[in-house]
Symmetry: C2
Subunit: 246 residues, 2 copies
């Protein structure tokens, strides 16, 4: 164990932030959209478009949170942003079906190298699931595409809320019929863990220092003494096995 | 293919009724409660109690459907029924934790012999999930206990409705971002398939003629020409592979 409570008890379930923590969205999308542009001979600054796409993520969810939009899935928020960015970046020649295909790039994100191995190990002893702002279709398609062995998918459209709204964290605990202290959130983002801890969940931090590429400004390390600080998902399995054996 | 539409197109997702279709609730509970009684030297007509427990299933959900009860999970309905039946059957010596343990017998039901093999095959080509009146905790615990390889768990507490309310069938399609015609329900109960078909879903029937033991009165065979009629879940995989290959 790293920092944190020496009297920590083993959780029953471990939930995972997904974009950034489990999958490497930026490299996946850069590779996919760049290849798409090359094959179709469509010129565009795909890398900047992807960074702008992700920059619009939090503001687009905030529009739902503030009530400016009724409940809207992340797939639909992604698509609205993509339509705007394609115009702003002056990218020509994309048909409606191309835009639909590119938007589903978020369903085809690659996991970090340790994710599938670590989750497969953790699944033996714990209930595992994403606790993500993605919608069910996005997260289920992603899991099937790359083999994420979830027991249950805690998508934002189950709650009609986006993290860090408390409804997502507490809603997942309620559906599992577990107390927050019996559930651990694992995330590469300190803010996500801060909310989870404030609601009574256990916390595990994994650094993903290349998530945002050259634009990463935070989350290089744990900001607080989270219950577990692990190098990656596989290392989290090591550390939790050690807790179970004590 | 058996009966039904020769032009049937392959579904994207296959949802399964669970109690009776995937798991053999009656034999599992008889075995478990009988063994419990023997070990604890508690006398009771466990088999009759289990049949009465299941007989109370539909009426208890109807109380929620009619608004006599606010949303209540199946775990809680099961527990209320169990508490009543233990009194009615004059079973003595059960502590609160015993009742909680016995109620969780529904989380430990055994699959029919073909279920895990068939689901594992189907998972390669289709999104698979239960569409059940069980709650998330019950269905996730059951899946982990016996290895049901669900991609997503469409439990009744995601919808705050019980089948055959349309909200469960259509809600699952919506969460998957699929049209009803892209989704198949597989069930051992003609009534469940009737509602699914009326809402546009594809249908697959599997007979489970021993589900209710000597008390079974219906569902020995398909009442209508469902899209697929299969001997069991493994045979359903055979038949759907044949469709995909045409």
């Amino acid at each position: 164990m790293a920092d944190g409570d020496a009297h920590m008890s083993s959780p029953q379930a471990i939930l995972f932030d997904t974009f950034g923590t489990i999958v490497d969205w930026r490299s996946s999308l850069i590779e996919e959209l760049t290849a798409f542009g090359r094959e179709r001979n469509i010129v565009g600054d795909w890398t900047s478009l992807i960074d702008a796409w992700r920059s619009a993520y939090a503001p687009s969810m905030d529009r739902v949170r503030k009530g400016e939009l009724l409940w809207t899935t992340l797939d639909k928020l992604h698509r609205a942003t993509l339509d705007r960015l394609v115009m702003e970046f002056g990218i020509k020649g994309l048909a409606q079906e191309d835009l639909a295909y590119l938007n589903k790039g978020w369903h085809r994100l690659r996991p970090w190298p340790d994710s599938v191995k670590g989750l497969t190990r953790l699944k033996k002893n714990f209930i595992i699931g994403p606790l993500s702002n993605g919608n069910v279709a996005l997260l289920v398609n992603m899991a099937k595409h790359v083999g994420l062995p979830w027991d249950m998918v805690f998508a934002s459209d189950l709650f009609h809320h986006f993290k860090p709204d408390r409804e997502n964290y507490l809603g997942a605990c309620q559906l599992l019929d577990l107390q927050p202290k019996e559930v651990m959130l694992c995330a590469a983002h300190n803010d996500d863990l801060k909310m989870a801890r404030s609601l009574g969940l256990q916390t595990a931090f994994i650094a993903r220092p290349t998530e945002y590429g050259p634009h990463q400004t935070k989350d290089f390390a744990a900001d607080e003494p989270w219950d577990v600080i692990a190098a990656n998902v596989d290392d989290l399995a090591d550390k939790l096995e050690a807790v179970r054996e004590t």
